[in-house]
Amino acid sequence: MENHFQPIIVGFLCNWCSYRAADLAGTARIHYAPTMRPIRVMCTARVEPEFVLKALREGADGVLIAGCHPGECHYVEGNIKALRRFTLLKALLRQFGIEEARVQLVWAAASEGKQLAEAVDRMTEELRALGPLRWRETVLGEQPVARRMAEAEVGG
Amino acid sequence: MATSATLSRTSAFFREVIADTPTDPHLEACLQCGTCGGSCPSGPDMDHTPRTLFAMIAAGMREPVLRSNTPWYCVSCYACVERCPQDIHITDVMYTLKRLAIKAGYASQSSAARAPGFSQTFIDHVENYGRSFELGLITRYYLRHRPLDALKVAPIGMGLLKRRRLDLSPRPIRQLDQLKAILERAREIDNAKSA
């Protein structure tokens, strides 16, 4: 895969720490890969595993979930609940053949704009190395026999 | 952490030191608190304390730093590293400065001029035999670098010999060729890098 493959990451950012970290990164003009498309949630605990699966299926190459550090959650331990779900989700994704680097959970405090930017950069690099996911096309893309035969005839 | 962005703001010499140190020594974090200089067993004998040297590196004072005897007086006791409030890998920086001083040709002119000779003699023996050969090391080092001091050290050498604590001949390792090949390859890799 070419190196200039620009992956698309869906980023679920918690309102209190990581979204603010992303704000801070911008305010501090820290440049990082423009690959992360943010979705603000109140807490990482709001992120349903279905959101992650949905994003992967809809064409994202990776999903980043970013929340407050353990012990710093605005909702006491929403981030640990997220971690519990994420841990099990990872095991599931492994069975689905989805590489670990494609779905990541990171902690970034409101002051850690730099760390968040670095996480996006790092993940972008990792996804570049893995190449596109394109779930619908590459995984669900099998054609029915009837259509395959029809195309084969047209093609020669 | 010295990122590429932070580094770009430092002196060229600072960057040279960082680049030649195996892991990030966190040198930019120095608070100039002096814990290193205070903790150093040979601190009183150094012409600059390590702290001073770090300020000089930051200021880009390449020649005075590489001419300093400080790195050569470092006994590698790691007391400063242990106590540094900023986790600076001071001992590793001292090794780097020694290497740069040798490369720059200043080493032999420092007030600790004996040290590089001792290191080189030691290395020669290890490269030739695979292990240190103390009798050879001491005799060659003193005869070549410090003929006048040879007398002072002679009684100790004799004492060691008498107590059968010195070998009269080196004990080379079995696969000396293998070791030499490895070291030669390392030299090539290093040269290719600095080229």
Binding site: - | A79, I123, A186
Partner: protein, 331 residues
């Protein structure tokens, strides 16, 4: 228990007493030390000062050999490699750690090792200092059980030197500023241990060769302090410390007009004696400062308690309480 064993150049010759006593003690304790075949010098503190990559390659050859040999003998995982010399211990564990921290360095080192048909995966060995293995794996209880000639009457200054707990490239087994494992070991052997304030200070290292004045002053401080504390001997765990304090003691006396006669022994030698081995079996006699007068005190009537140092306050009604330490332990 079986460990890979990296003696290092010193133990071959100038610190042969360390090696001899270690092997004698190991036999009593049922610990097996399998010497790494065809090991080479670790580079001491000299090699790295001249050529970085060659220094790492030099040390790494030992790691590669040790790891291979451990594999072929089906050892523990990760295989344990024991170094009795503090400098060797530090060099080997430092290289292992840096190779793990810096994949670029590891790649270069392995490219060099490949020239000798070797390869080393960082972290595949657990590098231990001998003292760590003795006190933590064998354990004080085991040792106490073997003591049959306790070192009663001996006042010992336990001397750790620099590199054993500093700077802790892998896990630490003792406090870097105020270690106590050797103190405790000596108490287990029945000796009286002085609270040696310079226990982790430097013996001068290679400065004896580079700047004699610097080195002799460093050695003098240690000897003076041990003498101030009325220590009968200094116990060490590093060949360099032993050599400097022992062989240069006479030079110190000359230089400073002092008259120290403090024997410097390896801790394994004292373990051997406490286990009832003969002085010759543990290499006594190789030291410059004859240890026999001091050793003659073993078993002698307990000396009257040394007068408390003047600066320690007398306890009186007026006295203020001393701060409590967490685990104050006395034998």
């Amino acid at each position: 228990m079986r460990y890979g064993y990296y003696p290092g150049c010193s133990l071959e010759r100038n610190a042969s007493a360390y090696h001899t006593s270690l092997m004698a003690v190991a036999e009593r304790l049922g610990v097996e030390f399998a010497e790494v075949d065809d090991w080479n010098c670790c580079g001491a503190t000299e090699f790295i000062a001249v050529n970085r990559l060659r220094a790492y390659a030099l040390a790494s050859r030992n790691l590669a050999l040790a790891a291979d040999q451990a594999r072929s003998t089906n050892g523990a995982d990760p295989a344990q490699l024991v170094a009795p010399c503090s400098a060797c211990f530090l060099n080997l564990s430092k290289v292992d750690r840096y190779l793990e921290d810096s994949p670029a360095l590891a790649a270069d080192v392995n490219a060099a090792l490949a020239a000798g048909g070797l390869h080393y995966e960082a972290g595949s060995l657990r590098i231990r200092h001998l003292l760590d293995v003795i006190v933590n794996d064998v354990g004080y209880e085991q040792i106490a059980a073997r003591v049959n000639s306790p070192l009663r009457g001996m006042r010992i200054a336990p001397y750790y030197g620099c590199l054993i707990v500093r700077p802790g490239f892998r896990e630490r087994f003792d406090d870097p500023e105020y270690p106590t494992s050797l103190d405790k070991l000596m108490r287990v052997l029945g000796a009286q241990v002085v609270d040696f304030p310079l226990k982790t200070h430097c013996c001068g290292g290679h400065m004896t060769q580079i700047s004699r004045d610097v080195a002799l002053e460093l050695i003098r401080r240690l000897l003076k302090n041990a003498a101030d504390y009325q220590a009968d001997m200094i116990v060490t765990l590093c060949p360099m410390c032993q050599l400097n304090l022992d062989a240069f003691q006479e030079s110190v006396n000359e230089q400073f007009g002092t008259n120290y006669r403090i024997p410097i022994l390896f801790f394994t030698q004292l373990m051997g004696l406490a286990f009832g081995l003969s002085p010759a079996a543990v290499g006594i006699g190789k030291e410059f400062i004859d240890a026999r007068p001091a050793l003659a005190k073993i078993g002698a009537a307990a000396e009257p308690a040394a007068p408390a140092p003047k600066r320690k306050p007398r306890r009186s009604d007026q006295g203020l309480p001393l701060p409590q330490m967490p685990e104050e332990e006395q034998p």
